[in-house]
Symmetry: C2
Subunit: 340 residues, 2 copies
């Protein structure tokens, strides 16, 4: 019997939230490997807010996924067959920017097996040592430029990026206030991740809570969300504040025009630096970021959670967890059994 | 007969445009000078969009002018009486951040007489070599960081700041497109100031005109205006674009909430750097900026115009020229006869 691969293919551009039928799970027979290629089996498929951007035809930082094309994505996969001298079966690799496919075919010479770090689980390579960790590290350090004693606010604080931003800022000696959407998340932020305060935007008056927890104003706003919460933060920025603009997840499912920040003029009055960035721009500097984050991780200074959904077939439906704020930490789909 | 000074005092915070009675011209007798002080007579009072900000109680970069206090401002003045060893009668000085007063009393040791530059008229010290010139120079060079071959768009292009921004960008080898509000201004920009193109926002479709004149997109948007024109520019920003945020003049007379930029997400997608700035932040670097601008000026590379209104008593009413777009170049009030 021919072995079969499974791939999620984009059939329609979603309007608002993703619906059944927007993506289709397609089976295709294994193609023979060419010299230099490896076949891997996906262990953890990464689900990220940006997946939703790629499905839409908005003017974004990469072309949209074509209708009828495999959904774009990345993950950790284990090599199951190799025609490359660089990789052998059993090696675990990060697929890089590939597809939502169960058996990705990869070029062996572009990949190196993940290192084994003492006490560090494989899921760390989806979180602190993966793209979301690099997003947090470079966005905060390169754009935010935190200084000890400054106040840092981060939205979507219990997510994969936000949770790292806050902990890196703590390591830099900052006061850190996270904004998240549940009591459980807020408790995790203050009791596990060491944030100075956490604000539940679903139950609290965000402006009043920011006033309480940021008595010296806000020096850095690491923005993941957009919308009214962002407006409340912008209103409290200090002179010469910085705002790494990482994401605007509250807008990605929008079906109509999205209002800009109500207090845009504050960027002028406060001389704020706002800088949009996409983690792929930092790809050449990933080794630096991974080395730094791995060091902090092994010192026990970075706590992280992984929100694991089982079953490759559940990938599209699970993406909504990000938009409904159900995930604590990095959302992944476990597509096959991770190694012990 | 006691000599009298005249000062414009703020009586009401204007609602929308400034109205008669918002400021009052008050006469006061000359106070005797203290040791170290000089009395000067204002020659050119500077009128700037920021005057309107200072009259309002919006959250701005300086406290608002108090009701009953002299209106804040600056200008060029000639020393008429001196008890300072640093200045003698006849010396011309920049008053720094002072007041709308005909006979300012200044500390001699904080001022140096303006140098005489061959072929450079006194009005240059209100324009290219004054605060507006420094605004253009540092905003463009320090935040915009223009590179030869890039496309620079500047709004309020025929104003004191915009006209310098475009010419400095040309000196840097950029393609420069200005946005202004009359045919006369547009003609001046292309025929005198050497802009590659000028768009009359009152008669042209700004988006279509930007498409035509910026075939390679926009690398730098030097923002002076805000509102819908800004939205059209933001929509055409290139990857890794920069946006020195210098002013939002279209909003200063607003009496209600001002919408933020409709396409704020483009700052994320294009990885744009947006940086608010106020020229006073660059005060320590003014000597560097003045030296560079004076060099270009003496080489004939910077054309500038001065929009002169005569009579100190006309200062408040003349401010509206900025908001109605009547001025070409730097708006000043000639308060007394300049030296030949």
């Amino acid at each position: 019997m021919t072995e079969m691969n499974k791939t999620w293919v984009l059939r329609n551009r979603p309007v608002g939230e993703i619906k059944e039928g927007d993506l289709e799970l397609v089976e295709t027979p294994f193609e023979p490997l060419e010299e230099g290629q490896v076949r891997a089996k996906m262990i953890y498929l990464s689900l990220d807010p940006t997946n939703r951007i790629w499905m839409s035809d908005m003017d974004a930082y990469l072309p949209p996924v074509g209708i009828g094309d495999p959904m774009r994505g990345s993950g950790l996969a284990v090599v199951v067959d190799s025609r490359s001298e660089h990789l052998k079966p059993g090696d675990i690799v990060n697929t890089g920017l590939g597809a939502w496919t169960l058996y990705p075919v990869l070029q062996g010479d572009t990949l190196t097996p993940l290192p084994k770090l003492p006490g560090v689980p494989l899921t760390a390579f989806m979180g602190p040592l993966g793209a979301t960790g690099m997003t947090a590290y470079f966005g905060l350090m390169d754009i935010g430029k935190p200084k000890a004693g400054e106040t840092v606010v981060v939205s979507a604080a219990a997510g994969a990026v936000g949770s790292m931003v806050g902990q890196i800022a703590k390591i830099q000696g900052c006061r850190v206030v996270g904004i998240a959407g549940s009591e459980d998340k807020c408790r995790w932020l203050t009791e596990v991740a060491g944030f100075d305060a956490a604000i539940n935007y679903k139950t609290e008056d965000v402006g009043a809570a920011l006033d309480e927890h940021c008595p010296n104003g806000i020096d850095i706003n690491f923005e993941n969300v957009g919308g009214q919460i962002m407006d409340e933060v912008i209103a409290r920025l200090n002179d010469f504040s910085r705002m790494p603009l990482c994401g605007l997840i509250s807008t990605y499912n929008a079906t109509g025009p999205v209002p800009g920040p109500a207090n845009f003029s504050n960027f002028l009055m406060r001389r704020t630096l706002v800088k949009g960035f996409i983690v792929i721009d930092y790809f050449p500097r990933f080794p630096e970021g991974i080395q730094q984050m791995a060091g902090w991780l092994m010192e026990g200074k970075l706590k992280f959670e992984t929100d694991v959904v089982k079953g490759f077939e559940n990938a599209p439906a699970s993406l909504s967890r990000l938009f409904e704020g159900k995930n604590l930490g990095k959302l992944v789909v476990e597509c096959s059994q991770p190694p012990a």
